[in-house]
Amino acid sequence: KATLAFVETSGSKITPSSLSALRAAQQLGNPITALLVGTEAKGAVDEVKKVSSIDKIVTSSSEKYDHYLPEQVSPLVASLLKDSEYTNFVVAASAVGKNFLPRVGALLDLQPVSDIIKVVSTDTFVRPTYAGNALATVKSKDSQVLVSVRSSAFAPVELGSASDVAVEDVSFVEGGNGAEFVSEEIVKSERPDLGSAKVVVSGGRGLKNKEEFDKIINPLAEKLNAAIGASRAAVDAGFCDNSLQVGQTGKVVAPDLYIAVGISGAIQHLAGMKDAKTIVAINKDEEAPIFSVADVGLVGDVFEIVPELTSKL
């Protein structure tokens, strides 16, 4: 029995969501083989060696795996899993993991379990459904169980001292009919990553426009070294980029502190942040649903309260 864990990398680093997925892989209790792909894969091998329970590292360095195109990555993963000792396959429920995991399932006739938030046993997991309004305990009957891991629900693994782990290189596996990568545009930010930040300051429609959003939210986020988030309403109104959206259809976050500014708290938004340890809500409407989940609420004008809060912190 063993677990194959897909590790996404960025330069020589393991991505934060993969560090969380590795925690879930450790909880399965079996030896872990880490899989890294793409031309940069080898650069992150040293970091993977610092994760405990890693038994073996498999890399495949073809440039075809750059950008993690699902039509290319899935046949490789399927070929490693097919007729193997792996009883589990684990990947982060990131944009990359969500994109290729179901395709692997289709190739192997397996039904993946998406977005797990708890490992009960090697075949049983808890996952949110209905925008987090119902938690389902799901048992898989498949011979090999494929899961994607919601990173906010698992603490990232710690990196210890490097251990002596065997590294095996596997060659490119012929891919399916695929789309080709054209370009990408990643929003550059000085702020911590939204998915893994300890503190998140989020703005909503109550901030009126983009200028006010920046003027009110940025200084507070800077003061707290926080990531910036937003409600769907704020994104739709063009106050900020869509990649900052917190909610059922955006990012799901579980920081130590979440400050919701001018956010009313629609079900879809609550789905994305209600697992934060401490929630603060600042809103002029005292009836706003956000107050029912907030540990501390303050009713009033965000344009006065937030600058005062920023200056007093």
């Binding site: 699902p70 179901p102 289709a106 695929g178 540990d295």
Partner: protein, 256 residues
């Protein structure tokens, strides 16, 4: 483009997005009696996009076929798709059975073969089970290119399709030739409401009813739901009167 485009639109009937679902007493499912159902919001975006593509490329798009897998009542959402501009439709009646993404994909593959569709557009996820799998699995079964979480779709004159996708931290553009699968994200478009006259007219459009056996597929469950429960309730609701009190409370909670 050398060949004509035949669009397939899988649409799912789900509990309305504005409702908070209630878990039944036996903790096995969601109460559905007396609950309002709607078209899955992401599938609604898919329908809108198909119609938009047809309007912008009239000579190119030969047909739009909508399909739903669900109870007899899923006809209601097929009628919406027809009213919005789909030409024909199929209901795969599975009564009240829950069908998992792998089986949904197998059924949709059979429908694709019947319709000879070469462009499939569907929502990135259904807002009930939140799996986010069907588009990718169907692409895998068909060995077609996939472009998930689309925020922009452009059909080029050289018979390729360019899709801007939402990814972590930004967007990515991928390009493929037909046949292909696109799953829709929120920013792709804003679905319009259907007018009553259009709904009336849609009643005359074809709606074929099939059972899974007719397609040579059987429904086999791989996942067993042992329990469905409410998430732990938050003890929220405390309000303070000033910024100073707020800071004091946060210190007390060791949040800052």
């Amino acid at each position: 483009m050398s060949s004509k485009v035949r669009i397939l639109l899988p649409v799912k009937r789900v509990i309305d997005a504005a409702l908070k679902p209630r878990i039944n007493k036996t903790q096995t499912g969601i109460e559905s009696a007396g609950v309002k159902f709607s078209i899955n919001p992401f599938d609604d975006i898919a329908v809108e996009e198909a119609i938009k593509i047809k309007n912008e490329h009239k000579d190119l798009v030969e047909s739009i076929h909508a399909v739903s897998i669900g109870p007899a009542k899923a006809q209601d959402i097929l009628r919406i798709a027809l009213a919005k501009g789909a030409d024909t439709s199929t209901l795969i009646d599975v009564q009240d059975q829950e069908v998992e993404p792998l089986q949904v994909s197998k059924i949709l593959k059979a429908v694709q073969e019947r319709q000879n569709s070469n462009l499939i557009i569907l929502g990135k996820q259904a807002i009930d089970d939140d799996s986010n799998q069907t588009g990718q699995m169907l692409a895998g079964l068909l060995n077609w290119p996939q472009a998930t979480n689309a925020s922009k779709v452009k059909i080029n004159s050289d018979s390729t399709v360019e899709v801007e996708r939402e990814i972590d931290g930004g967007v990515e553009v991928v390009k493929a030739s037909l046949p292909m699968i696109i799953t829709t994200d929120l920013r792709l478009n804003e679905p319009k409401f259907v007018t009553l006259p259009k709904m009336m007219k849609a009643k005359k459009k074809p709606l074929e009813k099939l059972k899974v056996e007719d397609l040579g597929v059987s429904i086999e469950k791989r996942l067993e739901i042992l329990k469905l429960e409410d998430p732990p309730a938050r003890q929220g609701g405390l309000k303070v009167g000033s910024v100073d009190e707020l800071i004091a409370k946060l210190k007390e909670l060791k949040a800052i």
